[in-house]
């Protein structure tokens, strides 16, 4: 599935909202729906299908991804510049044409038909990070502190591609805010692609075990 931007069809206009979101078109949604079904599939996969070196690289990337988000929340309260730095590094782990998707349904609904808790492109992720940086994001003042554990990582190649892999792992995220603790849990799905800049996250899908029930203040990144 080719999800590269069809920017030529859009013409030579100038865009008010930077960066323009040219890739979130129907073919992209077709692709995320197909990926979503694959990530959730009850399957016994060939654990030897991905080379050990690649498994190591993906493991390191996902470890860094989780650690940067935890560091962002810990810095958010008094060291906003450091938090912004952490989120900057975090966003750099994502491909330019990426999606961050928190489902509102089990099993996953088509995001063209049903609202998601969050379905963000790169631009809205930049908005989210910038909002936290204003100092006026009261839902994060005081900030949530998070510590996330993940395990059970499985990685398999994307069909018909040699430069892309799919992965899933379960997670447990402990949050503390204003002295109150919460546990969020579920599983994450990822698509990772080799790009000229290195391995990047193309899709992060967050599947909370209680996503269709009432949520608390999840205004940090999951």
């Amino acid at each position: 599935m080719n999800v590269t931007t069809q920017s030529s069809a859009v013409g030579q206009r100038s865009y008010h909202h930077q960066p323009p979101s040219l890739y979130v078109i129907n073919s992209f949604y077709e692709w995320v729906v197909e990926v979503s079904a694959d990530l959730a599939r009850i399957a016994v996969r060939d654990s030897a299908a991905v080379k050990a070196a690649r498994v190591d690289e993906i493991t390191r990337l996902l470890t860094l991804e989780a650690r940067l988000l935890d560091q962002g929340t810990l810095a958010q309260e008094n060291q906003r510049a450091l938090a912004q730095e952490a989120y900057g590094h975090w966003l750099a782990l994502f491909a330019d044409e990426c999606a961050y998707w928190i489902l509102a349904n089990i099993p996953a609904a088509d995001p063209r038909q049903t609202v998601a808790l969050e379905f963000h492109d790169r631009r809205r992720l930049l908005d989210r990070v910038a909002r936290l940086g204003t100092g006026f994001a009261f839902s994060q003042s005081p900030a949530s502190h998070t510590s996330r554990q993940w395990s059970g990582l499985e990685i398999w190649p994307s069909p018909n591609r040699t430069d892309e892999w799919r992965a899933r792992c379960s997670f447990m995220l402990v949050e503390s805010r204003e002295g109150h603790g919460r546990v969020l849990s579920g599983w994450n799905g990822f698509v990772l692609r080799e790009t000229p800049d290195g391995l990047r996250i193309v899709l992060k899908q967050i599947n909370l075990i209680d996503c269709d029930r009432m949520q608390g203040n999840n205004s940090f990144f999951l």
Partner: protein
């Protein structure tokens, strides 16, 4: 204490404090206890939520025969079901035998409900039709109505289903009163009653009294403060946009309107749709290709299609639990004196193409995480303040109470500046 003493203690009526309670809500301020007192909350569940019309569901949530969903009249749990003939019913999710819930799924499709405890069976009109070992029951039992309890009245207005336990409540249309024409405008913005469908929900649990959420539903004053992060970010990144017109709100063309029976509406349309609501909207995923699609598909109608993809420009509040905000249907569910569920249903249109509906959904995912959570934190902090500082007794609602700017308008409407507390004063008069 003996068992008998315990029972009589439980059975004794609460002291009559009705005279005191009237003083708790004054013209321009409300006492903290109406937000913090368990006994007042219990009375609200009976005297407000059971006594007036309460929104239960939208018919599009149960489109097919035998579809059902759970809903609430205050704390009372009801099943809203469509029968095989297409008629909508509501009945209590409480087995008439021992009280167990007969339905334990939030939504689904079922022609009947079997209580998991002793196997009593009820159809999706709430009528009992099966008792295992029925011969063990006698004529006295059989003379009783053992169907699932039904609200005294059930009504639907253009797909919005309401119910009340009060047989003497005025008809639904009379209850909606002059709010109906705003509801009509909101529905028309979303394609008309035959085209509007709910499309999933964001659900939040907040540690505050339900009225904190309700107070805010008609509050045009908080925007530049509570949502400052969103305004600053939007200005920094895009040079301004959505909600910027709240900066000097009382000089704007927006208004805050007291309607019949405690209903209210903030009418933002003159500002939000005055120029172009679409142009002001913060950018959504896929915005630019969508604009191209609309331009290519809709020709001269393109701007109108873009503008109806984003919010209706009204915050329409149907007391006590239905708030139409943007293109979303918000339902307020009291859970306890200091706990409230808020359900934000997204909407789509049957008559719109796939791209329009996709963009509606992406637009509706913007505010909950970047705006609503800031409000929610402020509601919870209000609740903390009211709970922790009993000496500070009052919650103020006197904004524009003494300026003479809330003025009578057409059809019994009272219209004020957008930041007036008229919304609170109006619903508390009904409360």
């Amino acid at each position: 204490m003996t068992n008998i003493a315990k029972i009589s203690a439980l059975a004794s009526a609460p002291p009559d404090t009705s005279g005191v309670w009237d003083d708790l809500v004054q013209q321009d301020r409300a006492h903290r206890r109406v937000y913090t007192d368990d006994s007042i909350f219990a009375r609200e569940m009976d005297n407000i939520f059971a006594a007036t019309w309460v929104y239960l569901a939208h018919e599009s949530e149960i489109p097919e025969p035998n579809d059902f969903k759970l809903s609430w009249i205050g704390l009372r749990e009801v099943i809203v079901a469509r029968d095989e003939d297409g008629l909508v019913h509501a009945f209590s999710n409480r087995c008439s035998h021992r009280g167990a819930s007969v339905c334990r799924e939030h939504q689904g499709n079922a022609a009947d409900f079997t209580c998991p405890y002793h196997g009593w069976r009820f159809d999706n009109r709430g009528q009992l039709f099966g008792i295992p070992g029925k011969s063990a029951y006698g004529p006295k039992f059989k003379s009783r109505d053992m169907n699932l309890a039904r609200p005294a009245q059930l009504g639907s207005y253009k797909g919005f289903v309401f119910a009340t336990l009060n047989p003497d409540a005025p008809p639904l249309l009379q209850h909606l009163g002059n709010a109906a024409r705003y509801l009509d405008a909101w529905i028309d913005h979303n394609g008309g009653p035959e085209n509007l469908c709910l499309a999933g929900a964001h659900r939040f649990r907040l540690a505050c009294n339900w009225k904190m959420v309700w107070d805010n539903a008609g509050d045009g004053y908080h925007v530049p403060f509570s949502h400052q992060s969103l305004l600053v970010m939007t200005n920094d990144r895009y040079g301004g946009g959505d909600m910027a017109y709240f900066a000097d709100a009382d000089r704007s063309r927006m208004s805050n309107n007291a309607l019949d029976n405690g209903h209210t509406v903030i009418d933002q349309r003159p500002e939000m749709h005055g120029e172009s609501a679409w142009r002001q909207q913060r950018p959504q995923p896929g915005r630019e290709p969508y604009e191209e699609h609309v331009a290519a598909t809709y020709g001269e109608q393109a701007q109108r299609v873009l503008d109806t993809t984003v919010g209706a420009g009204m915050n329409l509040n149907i007391f006590p639990n239905l708030a139409l905000i943007g293109n979303q249907v918000q339902v307020v569910q009291p859970l306890a004196v200091a706990a409230t569920g808020v359900h934000w249903y997204a909407t789509r249109r049957r008559d719109a193409d796939a791209e329009v509906n996709t963009m509606r959904l992406r637009t509706q995912e913007d505010f909950p995480v970047m705006g609503e959570m800031d409000d929610a934190s402020n509601f919870e902090e209000c609740q903390r303040g009211l709970t922790n500082s009993p000496e500070d007794e009052w919650v103020d609602m006197s904004r524009h109470y003494e300026t003479g700017k809330d003025l009578p308008a057409e059809e019994g409407i009272v219209r004020g500046p957008v930041t007036t507390d008229l919304h609170m004063r109006n619903y508390y008069a009904e409360w």
